[in-house]
Symmetry: D3
Subunit: 191 residues, 6 copies
């Protein structure tokens, strides 16, 4: 496939055709680097304003400088998506964890039950916070933030943990609400 999948979701919202140049270029970069255009981007391609706003936030959270490594951010993505049972995000970000870590079992454990992942105590504290935010954010209090500080995170790190966990609570629900289908190529990657 050389263009965005028109059946990326259950909604009848086909990509703009032709795509604006900038979008086409962005998708070409995806195809070159990832071997595919992620369906989440294909889904947004009916409206470039929405696509740009979404990918702008995504890129800032997942790629900008942070005290959290890119792998750690993907770990949060998968742990959160597991609680929300989001098929799209578990497939796509499970693949990312396997790829970035070179450890397929880590990806599996985060998809299934993050308590079984072989990670550091600091990373466990990070995921405990992200999961509590996902399950019952209204119970988060200062003691929860302090637990992250005690585990070695700075306030800036806490912001980033919170922001990434929050983002996937958005993204999981969007994917589930519109019936988003993951690109089939993800399943076999980095096994």
């Amino acid at each position: 496939m050389t263009g965005p999948d028109p059946d990326a979701t259950a909604l009848d919202l086909p990509p703009l055709d032709p795509l604006p140049d900038a979008t086409q270029k962005y998708f070409d970069v995806c195809t070159e680097k990832l071997g595919l255009i992620p369906n989440v981007l294909a889904a947004y391609a009916f409206d470039t304003g929405k696509l740009d706003a979404f990918s702008g936030l995504y890129n800032n959270l997942m790629l900008a400088e942070s005290g959290l490594s890119k792998l750690e951010r993907e770990m949060i993505a998968v742990a959160v998506s597991s609680i929300n049972r989001c098929f799209y995000c578990l497939v796509a970000h499970g693949a990312a964890v396997r790829h970035l870590s070179g450890d397929p079992m880590l990806g599996e454990a985060l998809v299934m039950n993050y308590r079984y992942a072989e990670i550091t105590d600091k990373q466990r504290a990070m995921l405990d916070f992200a999961v509590k935010m996902t399950e019952e954010s209204y119970r988060i209090e200062e003691t929860d933030r302090q637990a992250l500080r005690d585990a070695g995170f700075s306030d800036r790190d806490i912001w980033d943990i919170a922001a990434v966990a929050s983002f996937y609570n958005m993204s999981n629900r969007m994917a589930s609400a519109v019936g988003m289908q993951p690109n089939t190529d993800y399943h076999g990657q980095a096994r």
Copy 2:
């Protein structure tokens, strides 16, 4: 107060000082139009890349053209925030519903239990979907989307309902995770 509140959250992440010109201008517009700089923006003011990415998505969702009125988008914001018991968002967007509707009781009902709000059947279907997405997004299936179509929504409208409901599931969790405090002025507005 003429600048962003440095205590907008429980994290020690003060706004840039001085603010970049563009940000200062954005905040000046807020002060002029709203009479305040919303603390959610103050909270992001430690990093303009993050502020711009967040407000870019926010502005697209809440202000861009849509089959949903601005009031309806705020109604979704409050119904979702009620499920997540997000103090910040209930205060800020509860005020927005009161302001846009001129109906303080509508704002109250959405904060407390949206089933008591006096709204159209179509709006009720919209909020039922938004609340199901919030409580158990993994159970959303084609029948749920079809119920929205049957209520008179287009696929494009469904996208917007899903996107706004998803956004507040992010925003609620971010506010709760960092202990965001709403501007005190909201409480008395449009009563």
Copy 3:
């Protein structure tokens, strides 16, 4: 309106007409002191035996001498009603908290998420107990009662906390079950 609202609930159970003298006098006192006849009383006015039994318990719990102030009893009412998402009780007792405290933000916080209320540690312990009783009373054990003693409450105070929290678990369910509507005047009071 000079008589009890005949549409206080979704049930077809109109007030006695004429009301017995004692009931009329009671309602006149309400009108004089509160400016309205609370719809919860109007709802019971189809049967004075039921009205008297209900208001007898209510008056004892909320007005009789206690180690808890009247405001604290109303705080429990609102925190419990928030968990049960009871529209009637949140509107009526939210107004009472605003009125007794002179602090609209306190009322809002208790309606939305009591963890954000600016209250003493002792009051927080009181609300934690009331909320646990509401959410999972079967898990209450001696350690929970001891936590109240450690916070400075006597056994008699614990009885009163338990009794008030229990009462609103009754009252919330009654209001929701019969579709009780709050008097519209409450919304704007003490803002």
Copy 4:
């Protein structure tokens, strides 16, 4: 034992000693009719104002004229107490169901899982409503009330179902909150 059990709860709130005449007479009637002073009454005997208010409401709900039989009101009591896992109420009202029905298996089924009770369809509708009120009262809407009407209940009956179910949601929580112990005689009654 000829007086109220001073250890009816985990709180140090002994009965008045001596009891006022009216209370002593009430307890004497209990002993004569039931063979015991129910510990719920013993628990309240530290304050006759509270005892009278509680028993006033109890008597109105459980004994006054109603479209529901006394057995049906006890069935609601047990079904609600089962959801709330209230030891005191299950023991005391389980015995009442066995006694009034002459059917020990009915009492057992209501304690364990009311779906297994051999009751009429109309009674099943009554218990479904009472249980929904207990588990998630905020979701009760007109369709739930209409289901009761369709099953043959009048609006006055619906009030009584709601009132009894609400009362045990209070009573269950009170018993659990103060650690109330049932009289041991109940266990063997009407087996």
Copy 5:
């Protein structure tokens, strides 16, 4: 009744007729020792391979040598069945607890809310673990196992606690799924 009840479940799967000799002998032993053929065995009697596999596991868990007494294993059975609200198992194993302990109140407490059972601290730790396994097994971690060791259990005991609690999570669901009815004789036993 001298043979297995053909209506032990809601499924149309009558016992083999005639029963194979070994099965008939097994059922004769039941009748002799228990005064009845437990309906759970009657339910499996349509297929002796399934009956033997089920009863093989049951007998090993409940009757083989263990650091847990037979009563303690029945206590786990009832506490787990209470969480799962399994009518069949609560009736049958509630009777077993009453019989083995000679304490009807212990059986009642375990059926209703195990937190009210008068048991040793060690037994309470055992039931807390069994109940946590039942409610949210995915949250069990090393600290939970260590709590059992701290209470005095060996690793072999922990295996047995886990195995018995797991078995009733199977058995409860099987009984509920096929609509299994307990033998009526259980209700009155050992009261």
Copy 6:
């Protein structure tokens, strides 16, 4: 590794050494056919009575003649294990689904959210029943069984669906309670 893994669980219960001949033979068959000795069997190898009872039931359920194919039984195993978030069973039976179906995506979907699996309507009804049994078995009633009959299942099939779903509710809890680790070879199988 040629023997059972002594670290299959978090408990200190090493396999018998030497293993009895029959057990050694059984494990040799596993190694030959599967390329490994499943850790669930290694975990039980400290007591051959327990191993035989467990594997007896397992073999009857998963391998004996049934109206359900072996793949369908594995599908139930994975869907149930997903609800219970059992790491061991998801890894081991996820591999089995991939192997038996030749469809890695089917295995993934069942691990993540069975509603996204591409299966027949009849299989969907089967999994809906298995998942309801897992989440809230006490709500199963005749209408649930009838839904399976309407989907084309016989009463004997319903028994098998119920029995397999029940078994994994046992097995999931056992694995989680003892901290069972899956053989690492499963992760890469049949991708």
